[in-house]
C-alpha cells in the first residue's frame, strides 16, 4: 500500500504516452491518413502541372528558349516551375498539419480528457509539448511523402544536392513544425469552441501560406507583402528546403534560414509551454 510511484516520475514522464496516443489515432485510421497524403498530390497536380507559371516564359513562342531559361532562373532560381512548387507543397503540408494540432486540444477539453490528464502528475508543459511533438512527427512524415511524390512526378535535384542534405531538409521542417504547432496550440489553449478556433486558425494560415515564397517568388510581390514575407517563417523553411534540394546552395542564406527558424522554434515553443502553465491551471 505504501509503494509510491514518484520514484519513476521525471519532469518529462508521460510525454511519450501522450504523444503516442495522438500518433496512434493517426496511423490506425487509414482513411484520414490516405486523404492527408492525397491532398498534396492533388495540389501538386493542379498547381504544379496545370498552373505551370514557368510556361509563361518557356511556352511563349515570342521568347527565344535561352532567354526564357534565363528569365526562369531570374524569377524562380530554377528552370523548372514544378520543382519549385513541389517543395512549396512541403510548407503547405506542414502548415495544415500543425493547424490541426490546435484542434485536438479543443476536443480533449470538450470530451473531458484534458481534465483527466490534468488530475494526474503529468507536468502541464508536457501536456502541450506532447501535442507539439506529435504534430511535428506527423508533419515530418507527410513532408517526406510529398518529397518522394515530387520526385516521382519529375522534380529535379540541384547541382549541390547530396543525400546528406535530406537531413538538413528534415531539420528545417522539424524547426518550423515546433514553432507553428506551438503557435496554433497557444491559440487553442483557452478555446472551448471548435468554430472560434477554426476561424482564427484559418485567418492565420492563409496569409502565412500566400505571403511567402511557397508558390511565387517574394521579389515579385508588392513591397508591403514583401515585409510580411520576410517575417514569415514559412519563407525561410521553403527557401532552406529548396536550397538543399533543387538550388545551388548559398551558404550565407542557408545559415540565415536556419538561424531564423531556430529562433522562431525556440521562442514559440517556450511561449507555448509558458502559456500552458498559465492557462491549464485555472
Amino acid at each position: 500500500m505504501s509503494e509510491t510511484n514518484s520514484n519513476s516520475q521525471s519532469r518529462l514522464h508521460g510525454i511519450w504516452a501522450l504523444t503516442n496516443r495522438e500518433l496512434k489515432k493517426w496511423y490506425k485510421e487509414p482513411i484520414p491518413l490516405l486523404l492527408s497524403i492525397i491532398q498534396p498530390v492533388i495540389w501538386m497536380g493542379l498547381f504544379g502541372k496545370a498552373m505551370n507559371l514557368g510556361a509563361i516564359f518557356t511556352g511563349n513562342a515570342q521568347i527565344p528558349p535561352q532567354i526564357a531559361q534565363q528569365l526562369m532562373f531570374q524569377t524562380f532560381k530554377t528552370d523548372d516551375y514544378f520543382s519549385y512548387m513541389a517543395l512549396g507543397m512541403v510548407s503547405f503540408v506542414v502548415l495544415f498539419t500543425t493547424m490541426f494540432s490546435g484542434m485536438s486540444i479543443v476536443w480533449d477539453r470538450r470530451l473531458g480528457f484534458l481534465n483527466k490528464v490534468l488530475s494526474t502528475p503529468v507536468s502541464r508543459g508536457v501536456i502541450v509539448f506532447s501535442k507539439v511533438l506529435s504534430a511535428t512527427f506527423r508533419s515530418m512524415i507527410q513532408a517526406g511523402i510529398v518529397i518522394v511524390l515530387a520526385l516521382a512526378f519529375g522534380m529535379k535535384f540541384g547541382a549541390t544536392f547530396s543525400p546528406i542534405n535530406i537531413l538538413g531538409v528534415f531539420a528545417a521542417i522539424f524547426l518550423i513544425c515546433l514553432g507553428l504547432s506551438s503557435l496554433f496550440l497557444a491559440i487553442a489553449i483557452r478555446s472551448t469552441r471548435m468554430e472560434t478556433h477554426m476561424a482564427v486558425a484559418n485567418l492565420l494560415t492563409l496569409p502565412l501560406m500566400f505571403a511567402s515564397n511557397t508558390f511565387f517568388p517574394v521579389s515579385l510581390m508588392p513591397d508591403w507583402i514583401q515585409i510580411v514575407a520576410k517575417i514569415n517563417p514559412v519563407t525561410y523553411t521553403t527557401d532552406a528546403v529548396r536550397q538543399l534540394l533543387i538550388y545551388t546552395i548559398d551558404g550565407t542564406q542557408l545559415l540565415i534560414d536556419f538561424t531564423y527558424l531556430g529562433v522562431f522554434a525556440a521562442v514559440f515553443t517556450t511561449m507555448g509551454i509558458v502559456l500552458s502553465w498559465r492557462y491549464l491551471s485555472k
Binding site: K24, E29, K116, T120, P121
Partner: protein, 333 residues
C-alpha cells in the same frame, strides 16, 4: 496521519471575478468513508471536486487531501488520488487495455507493473473478455467500469467520482454501485463522490453534504438526516379553500405544517396513528379530505426540507452541456 483524509476550510471559487461557484465551504472526510456531495446541477459540486483534484485553483480558503495542500503540493495530491470524471474520457480509438496502460504511463508507473495491474483491474470490473476491443464498441456500463479501472491504476488512497452513474439506466446504475463498493473494499480507499441521484447517495454514502448555490447546507449520515426530519410526512388535500394549518398543528404528534401548491405537507411522528386523527379533526370542522398519502422520509424530503425545493435543473454552460450530452449518448450506445 490525522483521521481527516480530506479537509476543506473556507474553500471558495470565484469565476471571472464575480460568479461565486463555491462559497466558503468547510467539510472533512474521514478515512475509509464514502462521502457524497449532493446538489442540483450548478450547485458547485463539480467545481469543488475540481479544486480537490487540483484542476482548479481555489480563489480563497484551503483544502488538504491526505495532508497535502491542493494549491502548494499539487503533485503530491495528484499522486495519491484517483479520479473518475463525469465524462467518458477513455479514448474511443484505443482498446480497453491500451487505455489503462495510457493512464498508468501518466503516473509514470513502469510497464511491468502497469501490465500486471491492468490485468487485475480488468478482471475486477469484468472487462477481461473485452480488453482487446476498441472502446468504441463498449456499452455505457462497460465504459463506466473502464473509467473506474483507469482511476484505480495508481492505487489511490482517495478516489474521486464525479456523477459516477450519469446517463446510465437503472439496472446498470445499481450494478455500478456494486462495483464501487467492491473496489472500495478491495483497495481500502476513501471515496468522495458527487451525484444528483438521491437514491444513489442513500444507498452508497456513509455521510452526505447537501450543497446549493455554492454553500453547504447540511452534513450528516443519510439515516440521521432523515430521522432529523422528525418522522413521517403526511401530504393531504382538502376539498375547500380554507386554511386549516392552525387546526392541524394542534393535533398530537404533529410537528410542522406547510402549505405547498394547495396541498398540506405535515411532519409528524407515528404517521400511521396521526393520519386518522387528522382526518377526524378535519371532518369535525366540516372539511372533506380528498387525498392523503403517508411516506417515511427519503433523502428527497431531506433535500426539500433544507433547500426548499426539489432537485432542479439550471441553465448550464454550453461546454458542460455538450460534454454531458456526449456522455449520455455514449452511455446509451
Amino acid at each position: 496521519m490525522s483521521e481527516d483524509v480530506i479537509k476543506a476550510e473556507g474553500l471558495t471559487k470565484v469565476f471571472n471575478g464575480n460568479m461565486t461557484a463555491v462559497d466558503h465551504v468547510d467539510f472533512s472526510v474521514k478515512r475509509g468513508e464514502i462521502f457524497g456531495f449532493i446538489g442540483p446541477n450548478g450547485a458547485g459540486k463539480t467545481t469543488t471536486i475540481n479544486m480537490l483534484i487540483t484542476i482548479l485553483k481555489p480563489t480563497e480558503g484551503k483544502a488538504l487531501v491526505f495532508g497535502y495542500n491542493v494549491l502548494k503540493q499539487a503533485s503530491e495530491v495528484r499522486n495519491v488520488i484517483g479520479v473518475v470524471p463525469q465524462e467518458y474520457t477513455a479514448d474511443e480509438d484505443l482498446t480497453g487495455v491500451e487505455n489503462i496502460i495510457l493512464c498508468a504511463d501518466l503516473y509514470g508507473i513502469p510497464r511491468h507493473v502497469s501490465k500486471e495491474r491492468a490485468i487485475e483491474l480488468l478482471e475486477l470490473v469484468e472487462l477481461t473478455a473485452f480488453k482487446d476491443k476498441k472502446v468504441m464498441t463498449y456499452s455505457g456500463g462497460m465504459r463506466r467500469r473502464l473509467e473506474l479501472a483507469c482511476g484505480l491504476i495508481n492505487r489511490p488512497k482517495v478516489l474521486f467520482l464525479d456523477e459516477p452513474t450519469l446517463g446510465l439506466d437503472v439496472q446498470t446504475r445499481s450494478a455500478t454501485w456494486n462495483y464501487i463498493k467492491l473496489l472500495k473494499k478491495n483497495f481500502d480507499m476513501t471515496l468522495f463522490m458527487t451525484t444528483h441521484y438521491l437514491e444513489e447517495a442513500d444507498a452508497l454514502c456513509d455521510r452526505i453534504a447537501i450543497i446549493d448555490h455554492g454553500k453547504i447546507i447540511v452534513v450528516g449520515q443519510p439515516e440521521e438526516l432523515k430521522r432529523g426530519l422528525g418522522g413521517d410526512i403526511i401530504t393531504l388535500a382538502i376539498k375547500d379553500e380554507a386554511d386549516v394549518t392552525s387546526l392541524v398543528e394542534k393535533i398530537e404528534n404533529v410537528k410542522e405544517v406547510k402549505k405547498e401548491n394547495g396541498a398540506y405537507r405535515i411532519k409528524t411522528e407515528k404517521g400511521e396513528l396521526t393520519a386518522p386523527l387528522i382526518i377526524e379533526a378535519l371532518r369535525e370542522e366540516g372539511h372533506v379530505v380528498t387525498k392523503l398519502s403517508l411516506t417515511e422520509p427519503t433523502l428527497n424530503d431531506v433535500y426539500l426540507e433544507y433547500t426548499g425545493k426539489s432537485m432542479r435543473d439550471t441553465e448550464e454552460s454550453r461546454e458542460h452541456v455538450f460534454a454531458q450530452r456526449m456522455t449520455m449518448r455514449r452511455a446509451r450506445g
